[in-house]
Symmetry: D2
Subunit: 149 residues, 4 copies
């Protein structure tokens, strides 16, 4: 993953407990279930920082995920409480990038790092090339706006 | 489950292999994942008998599940191929009832029996009291129509 | 569902927010995802009342779900916070029965009622006919033990 | 993704139909559900080429996914049949790498490309540094073995 300017980020943290149905035959969380945890992180971020799904939808946009990367370092087990740190990485272009660190909460073991990229589409699914004004305003309000070169 | 008039039913069969991510820490398919198999069964039924989701949607209806019953008799394991028999149970009222038998395909062990009930709603989510005409026509075509008393 | 003796029950409550990935094309929580909420409820119950999965497993037992019933009354939507009330229904026989009421938390609309039955098995998956001693002791401690007739 | 030596690969193809419960509020397959399709692809590969999960497990190994990358190019919709091409990328080191191309089957539109990396662990979850002998033998049999430099 690329180096980022840490002054242009914003972070939220949430915790969740591993569900029995989320672990696999190896007694660890099935790797595909982490995608839900990333979504938990993103939604918590949205609530805390005023950028939740319904608000974005009301502005006329949807945000499909176009890129996903995850590295699984350690495993989570049944009954583990995991902590999801979700960081918004401001970008000069019209995309929404989040990075995630997932920890076992009890001992802060780093379990997974991940990154997702979302693009803006209009409701009729046309790609949006220019960053929407409400996002520019939101980034400026949080002092994380990066102008295009 | 109630006794049914077997002359007023229609059945489809499909098979699927248990995915690794569908088994739980007991190495058996997590009970919640059977709900997906019921959906597989229902969708196969729809394709075979001309009643699939998109067609119903085009007629202006959605079909939320309002009742679900499942009995788990034996377990399915990783790599098992399971066979889903899905039976449409004609009803005089405006509902869509399916019964399911799920077998391990290799030895025809009965694993699960289940039943779902769906009601008709218009796209704006109003409940439909009268059975839609296209369903009446479809039931008549298949000789499973049961008139109201 | 059968009438129950309410003096022989024990209840826990937990809340969770609907995840984006849990809603379906009708913009409501896909009915199969409620099975996860039931599990959330059961696990919260286990933590609050000293009967969690790992503890039971350490006693040498697993608890497969053998029966599931759910009635879907109203729908949950994206971003809804739902409240899950999970009630342990003491039984004279060797089974573990839970009933669930799931509400939209904001206005306490009842969304779903459900019931699950689990049987006791030893780790090598033999059915246990007699209620395990640690469960009898746990029920007695909570004044919900019902002797066999 | 890195350039690969195409003579050292082996491919399998499978198809599956999008389930109703797999699409999200945007009426497209929720991005997290593609992880299941990758698993479908990997399991089909295992069956066709004699390297399925249970066989590997019987050799004393488990294969946790440690790295996952996915690019979402186009969307899959309800009722789409998707085609998953799964390619084993031989590596000189003790890892198992698969690349995936997921297409809409009807018109061969490329929907998603992905890559997973798995490491070998013993059943007691110790990392295996040397490629297991049964994998070396399997790669040699298929003429895709790459010796370490």
């Amino acid at each position: 993953m690329k180096k980022i300017d840490k002054s242009k980020t914003l972070t939220s943290t949430t915790t969740t407990r591993v569900r029995f149905g989320e672990v696999d035959a190896m007694h660890i969380v099935w790797h595909g279930n982490y995608i839900k945890y990333l979504e938990d992180g993103r939604e918590t971020f949205g609530y805390e920082h005023g950028l939740n799904y319904l608000y974005i939808y009301e502005q006329g946009y949807i945000l499909p995920v176009v890129d996903l990367k995850a590295q699984y370092i350690k495993s989570a087990y049944i009954d583990d409480v995991i902590r999801i740190e979700t960081t918004y990485i401001a970008s000069p272009s019209a995309k929404m990038i989040f990075r995630y660190k997932i920890y076992r909460d009890s001992d802060s073991t780093l379990l997974t790092i991940a990154e997702t990229t979302q693009l803006f589409q209009t409701e009729d699914r046309k790609l949006v090339i220019e960053k929407p004004e409400f996002i520019v305003a939101w980034e400026k309000k949080h002092n994380i706006f990066i102008p295009k070169k």
